[in-house]
């Protein structure tokens, strides 16, 4: 398992700043969402980002596509990033079809599913695509769902997005994240586990956690303690 960061944690940061934040936090993977301001939008900018990522020692975990980009464009970007596309738009059937189309063009692709396993496992079990599971508040039994997924689609669950990790972990007591992480470890999960904010209201807390408050600049030291989510650190 490799812990990673989504650009959702700092939607207006460029890719250089995101990579620096990953390095500062010891995060091995960066997820880029197509709707954020990181600047990676075509083959040229993706090639530049790939070089920067290598310099920082951070891997690009995926290029998450939530809008209607063409298959050719997504394939170009992902090829330069050496990362799979994370298909997060359309119905589940449409996501599977898009992932297959990308696969046919030589690009890697993951179908994003979210929520409790029972809501998606049946539909995805018969497909031949790799899966990224987004864990949100709808998942009440994280470890149990993970066991069910690993039994039903062994080797195909390759990516986990955890909404509410990072600085929000302190208030996630009892949510089952510990059991999930233990199950991932015992199951020898080798893919990325990417953390992202559960809500834009926590933007300030994430900026603190990433060492962004006061500037990303050289020499700024990240506060390594978990940020306490007092009202003063939340944006409502």
């Amino acid at each position: 398992m490799r812990l990673g960061l989504s650009s959702a944690a700092a939607v207006d940061a460029d890719v250089d700043a995101l990579l620096a934040a990953c390095a500062r936090r010891g995060l091995a993977v960066l997820e880029l969402r197509d709707e954020d301001a990181h600047g990676v939008s075509d083959a040229a900018s993706a090639a530049t980002a790939a070089v920067l990522a290598a310099d920082f020692g951070v891997a690009i975990g995926s290029f998450r596509v939530s809008g209607a980009l063409t298959t050719a464009k997504v394939a170009d970007v992902c090829a330069k990033l050496e990362a799979p596309a994370l298909i997060a738009h359309g119905s589940l059937a449409e996501r599977i079809a898009t992932a297959r189309g990308l696969g046919d063009s030589g690009a890697g692709a993951l179908v994003e599913v979210s929520g409790a396993a029972e809501s998606w496992l049946g539909a995805i079990a018969g497909a031949d695509t790799d899966v990224a599971w987004q864990i949100d508040d709808a998942v009440s039994d994280m470890a149990g769902d993970l066991r069910r997924a690993m039994r039903a689609i062994p080797e195909r669950l390759r990516y986990v997005r955890l909404l509410g990790g990072g600085p929000e972990a302190a208030m996630a007591d009892g949510r089952g994240i510990g059991a999930l992480m233990g199950q991932l470890a015992l199951g020898r999960f080798g893919g990325p586990l990417v953390v992202a904010p559960s809500s834009p209201r926590y933007r300030v807390a994430w900026e603190n956690w990433l060492g962004r408050r006061g500037g990303w600049g050289c020499g700024s030291k990240a506060e390594r303690d978990v940020v306490q989510l007092s009202p003063a650190t939340m944006e409502r």
């Binding site: 398992m1 990072g166 510990g178 233990g182 470890a185 999960f189 080798g190």
Partner: protein, 78 residues
């Protein structure tokens, strides 16, 4: 995706659940098996707890010691 080694990254686990998760994972190991603990600080207090609760049953080897990440291979020896 199945990795070749067990990795338990506790950086996203709520503080009160960290040690129970680590000891549960350790309890699932057979003698000779191990996992790599990843943390954002030196887990010395955890080692003291292991020494108290599992004396002579565990191995502890630092693979990385900061400044951002600590990685410790914890093995079950008996």
């Amino acid at each position: 995706m199945q990795g070749s080694e067990r990795v338990l990254d506790v950086r996203v686990i709520p503080p009160r659940e960290k040690h129970p998760t680590i000891f549960h994972t350790f309890s699932e190991l057979a003698p000779g098996e191990s996992f790599v603990l990843v943390n954002d600080h030196d887990p010395k207090p955890l080692r003291y707890q292991f020494e108290f609760e599992h004396a002579g049953q565990f191995g502890w080897e630092y693979l990385e010691q900061g400044p951002a990440v600590w990685r410790v291979q914890i093995s079950r020896t008996a």
